[in-house]
Amino acid sequence: MKKLVLMLSVLASVVVSNWVSANNYEVIRFGADPNYAPFAYKDNTGTLVGFEIDIGNAICAHLKVRCQWVESDFDGLVPSLRAGKIDAILASVTVTEARRKIIDFTSEVFSSPSAMVFKAGTDLGDAKGKSVGYLQGSTQEAYAKRVLAIQGMKVVAYADQEQVYADLVAGRLNASLQDAQQAQSGFLRSPQGAGFELGKVIESELMPSMSAIGIAKGNQALKTLLDQGLAALHADGTYARLQEQYFPGVDMFSGN
């Protein structure tokens, strides 16, 4: 009996010792999907790195708070935000009307359109029967289901972007649909991306380009803080530096 009480109190103290006062933001918990190089990915030592990771860390440094990164599958990020597990989502989340109904967004982080990736020389004009893969929960999913599927393509959903590329390389997919810049930097430039090419940019209101930090609905305090942080990054040149480091020569900020 005594051992039972002891174990229960140990369990309780483990939980309680993680108390974080989130009201005045000493810590900002960012949610990220670590399978989206070079925006967010894991290097050889398992450390979380990437364009958005660096942006998040820079914002925290400017606001003089601690950054905590919570990893999750992409489609688990919004439920996590609503459940209160994270304070903000920094994971290439495009701003759409459907998402605006559930969560709020800060000002723009970056803008990047979507495009398909396929084996060099494939003719996707005859779409029927060809299979295209995408990340579950993304805007590309909405486009794939509402446009590509109607055209006769076989649309397949994946839990993370890396798996899409794995199956594309293996030959299970004819094409993959994702953010164009991510495809360029995270796949086409890597060894496994040899022999693949990027298709034309796809303009569709189902797949807007602007991506921002997602926060819980009505959280004006955090929105103000993060907007300040983002503005500071542009003002002191950190954004330009990171942009050049990860996407040399590309302008990721549309300024809308």
């Binding site: 039972l4 483990v14 939980v15 993680n18 009201n23 398992g46 919570v70 459940a83 209160g84 890396e162």
Partner: protein, 238 residues
């Protein structure tokens, strides 16, 4: 083929610390969930055998629901549901926000789920202890709590051991599922290592091998425990 093996061993050295971390997380998760599950199991068995109808019904609902719904679905529900509930509770009570990290969430989830399976095991084991034992304890003047701890519980553990052992083996393998909700356990670590080194199959096979070793070790420990304490089972197994 041999160069592949050599190449794998070379990359292994680079990823060894990460893999060991993954194994440690898996072990921690499994052992802590076992503990919590045992607690839930004892409480549940007690409730199921209680004279109070409300306890019996709630325990029955608990075991039926948990055993009727797949682990993964429960994990997703509990993982988001518990955090939401806790957030609402702390908001209503005016406390500061209570953080539940992935490991704690995993332990709570698995412990809660396997508590239902342990409830059935403990219930069967409690029923297998002859009533005469408890009656004799009462006749000897033992308090109910003493009678439970020294007589009923001690004998019950013998009968419960096979069932607990089986459930432990299932629990050990179920820890692989938590990688799907984001915990960096052995399977997730193996996937990360395999993808970045382009040797996915080798790393997955290695993860499988480690699980195999853990299962074998558990089997050995369980067999030792049964030989030491499991008099009843040994008699039946001639």
């Amino acid at each position: 083929m041999l160069e592949n093996v050599a190449r794998f061993v070379a990359t292994l050295e680079g990823f060894a610390p990460l893999l060991l971390q993954g194994v440690w997380v898996t072990l921690k998760l499994a052992l802590l969930s076992l503990l919590l599950g045992l607690i839930f199991g004892l409480l549940g068995a007690g409730a199921k055998l209680s004279r109070v109808r409300a306890w019996r019904v709630s325990a029955q609902v608990y075991t039926t629901l948990i055993r009727g719904v797949p682990d993964l679905v429960l994990m997703l529900l509990i993982f988001y549901g518990v955090q939401t509930a806790v957030s609402r509770l702390t908001a209503v009570m005016g406390w500061a926000y209570l953080e539940i990290d992935p490991l704690t969430a995993g332990v709570l989830t698995l412990g809660f789920i396997y508590g239902a399976y342990f409830t059935e095991t403990f219930r069967g084991a409690l029923l297998a202890v002859p009533r005469g034992q408890a009656q004799a304890a009462k006749a000897l003047g033992m308090k109910p709590s003493q009678s439970f701890i020294y007589i009923t519980f001690a004998q019950m553990m013998r009968f419960a051991l096979p069932g607990l052992g089986n459930n432990w083996m299932v629990l050990l393998k179920a820890t692989a599922l938590v990688s799907i909700i984001g915990l960096a356990d052995l399977v997730k670590v193996a996937q990360v290592a395999g993808k970045s080194s382009q040797q996915l199959l080798s790393f997955l096979l290695l993860a499988g091998l480690i699980y195999l070793l853990l299962s074998s070790a558990s089997n050995a420990v369980l067999r030792w425990l049964e030989r030491r304490y499991g008099g009843a089972k040994q008699e039946a197994q001639r």
